[in-house]
Amino acid sequence: MTEALEKLRQEVRTWLEANAPRNWRETCTSHEAFLDTQRSWFAKLVEGGYGVPHWPAEWPGGGRSLAEQKVIYEEFARADTPRLLLSFMSTYHAASTLFEWGSEAQQRKYIPRILQGEIWCQGFSEPNAGSDLAGLRTRAERRGDVYVVNGQKLWSTMGQFADKCLLLVRTSDERAKQAGLTYLLLDLKTKGVTARPIRQIHGDEEFAELFLDDVEVPVEDRLGKEGQGWAVAQSTLSSERGLTLLELSARLRGSLWRLAALIRDAGREADPGVLRDFGRLATKIDATVAIADQFLATRIAGEERVGDASLVKLTYSRTLRDFTSLGIRLGGMEAQYHAPIVFGGGMETGNWMADFMNSYAWTIAGGSDEIQRNIIAERLLGMPREPKNWTLAGDVA
């Protein structure tokens, strides 16, 4: 087993030496360059057989165990390849949901196109349904063979570049909010769809807002039954199996040289306070790598508990914030001058203010830190859930 993994590691490493894109950090300063890099890198990976290692064995490039996937991603991090941002939703969220809920016809229609580079985005969040997804309001009304959809979606990752969308809509107003949801596969070229990129505070546009105005979706593009949307969405949300944070922690570990360089540039190698803060951060990063690693091992062993993923996400997001904060502190005034961002450059590009602001994506998106704390307290520690119904106190504090 371990020998086979070591063999795979060597294979991947050799392949990456020949195929990994170079200098992309210098060139990706426009959306166009970013899209080009992402598309050609994904195509090359598919060709090499490393594009979708997590897919079932019956699909080309699939059939790798989690342990094998871990090796592959560790090598990606080591080679500092571009992260697969553009195709991430397609190969994980869309594919996994289709594998679990799609009819054979739906799978045959959509899966091969993903390998050819078709891009999916996710249409779950809404302006008034962020952390509280069950409260979403985008309506779909069935009229004969189509659903007519009206509403607005937010935070669709890469939505402005996507071809298709995993769309969660409300088809009825039953008392249990989840029961009224239905899951649709939306072609974004359909009439009535408008995608508008969301300008983030550091200047990137990784997300889009989708406006849906009398958009017709054929009933055959429904995943699962009407009213089953919540269950289908759970598949989508749990499709990523813990590799992302392993990869990101490894990349964070590999970026410590940026802070070391700053310490040297600032001539603060002899400042014990700075050394201690740096040492503490490095240790925290090692701990983040360790917990991500342990989490994956738990998953591989089939022993994951609800809440374990929250521990990893919370740890990573705090560590990333600390990392970028220390960069800003050491960078001093220099860090306050604006520098253009590297599109798709990842979480630690050395553009400290941009990286710092980008780190909020991790403490807010994908279940905010606050939601993760609820999950840890309630699911891992067995504390009571939040009250469901309540009345406000009167004159007693």
């Binding site: 969040s125 505070i201 005034m333 306050q336 001058y337 602001m357 807010i364 905010s368 830190d369 606050e370």
Partner: protein
């Protein structure tokens, strides 16, 4: 003349309450001059208002609250330096022009290396204050030999420049020798005090906006303000802010605060501003991550304020050193 803190705050909020956050630079500069705020600390003998540090603190705090653009802090430094140049013939005229709104600017960097960096609105300034321990002088804009380089910051509410004068011209000397040293210290202390005020005003504004948002924004069928974990975080922010505000007003009226005292105040105030702006982004959730919302404006200004005038590392160390020398059983 005498104006209370409350009266000044009231006037500022009337003037800027309706223009909204980060108002138009030109209009607000004209308004600031009109309202006489650039005359604030100028002695009455020189046609100023002769108000002290408390009044200046109130004004800078109100500027911070609305994310005021423009060179107000630098201008006040230039005016202060001019007012100290007792024997200078052109002094009164220059002060009058400055009080009327002619831009005279200065470095906000807090660095003592003599370079002229972090100079607000240098492109439209007529005079540049140059401060060193040996000499404080005013350099007029020159058509030749002067280089004004814009340095875009993440914070767009300020416009900073690097400035160099090619020929090592002397400019108008305002103070030399011991007088220069004393003036330089006072100017540095005032810069730190102004940045602290700006930070506390900004912190208070974004904290209030955050509370407002939590009261309105609903998740899980209730306003976010009902979640105790968020209430406690907001309460903690309110507490650290209130303590720092109390320190700010105490130092504003202290008889002789040292430079390290002012630096420690500035470090404290900017650290609190940054912490509150960070929490504001987090508590606003997704919307706080977009350019559409105002959270990021406060966050970026907070971060810039942390760096201007010397950072917390520098001033906390200085305060520690000072206390170590003072604190004897």
């Amino acid at each position: 003349m005498s104006l209370t803190r409350a009266e000044l705050q009231d006037a500022a909020r009337k003037a800027f309450g309706e223009t909204g956050l980060a108002p138009d630079a030109e209009q607000s500069w004209a308004l600031i001059a009109d309202l006489g705020w650039l005359m604030m600390s100028v002695p009455e003998a020189l046609e100023g208002l002769g108000l002290g540090a408390v009044a200046a603190g109130a004004i800078h705090s109100e500027f911070g609250r609305v994310l005021m653009p423009g060179p107000a802090i630098a201008q006040m430094l230039a005016i202060e330096a001019l007012a100290a140049a007792d024997t200078l013939a052109v002094r009164d005229e220059l002060i009058a022009r400055a009080m009327a709104g002619e831009v005279m600017t200065a470095s906000l960097s807090g660095a003592v290396d003599g370079r002229l960096t972090c100079v607000p609105d240098a492109d439209r300034a007529s005079q540049f204050l140059i401060v060193s321990d040996a000499r404080v002088s005013l350099m007029p804009r020159a058509d030749a030999g002067m280089k004004v380089t814009p340095r875009e910051t993440w914070d767009r509410t300020r416009r900073l420049f690097d400035v160099t004068f090619e020929h090592n011209a002397d400019g108008l000397v305002l103070a030399e020798g011991a007088a220069a040293l004393a003036l330089a210290e006072r100017l540095r202390a005032q810069l730190l005090f102004a940045l602290a005020g700006d930070s506390l005003g900004g912190a208070d504004a974004i904290l209030q906006l955050t509370v407002d948002y939590l009261m309105v924004r609903r998740q899980f069928d209730r306003p976010l303000a009902m979640f105790q974990a968020l209430k406690h975080r907001v309460a903690d922010m309110k507490t650290v802010l209130s303590a720092t505000e109390a320190l700010f007003w105490a130092r504003a009226s202290a008889p002789a605060p040292s430079l390290a005292d002012m630096g420690a105040l500035k470090a404290n105030a900017t650290t609190v501003y940054r912490a509150i702006a960070e929490e504001a982004v987090q508590l606003h959730g997704g919307i706080g991550l977009t350019m559409e919302h105002h959270c990021h404006l406060f966050l970026k200004r907070a971060m810039l304020n942390c760096a201007l005038g010397g950072d917390a590392d520098r001033w906390e160390e200085a305060a520690g050193r000072q206390m170590l020398a003072q604190a004897v059983a």
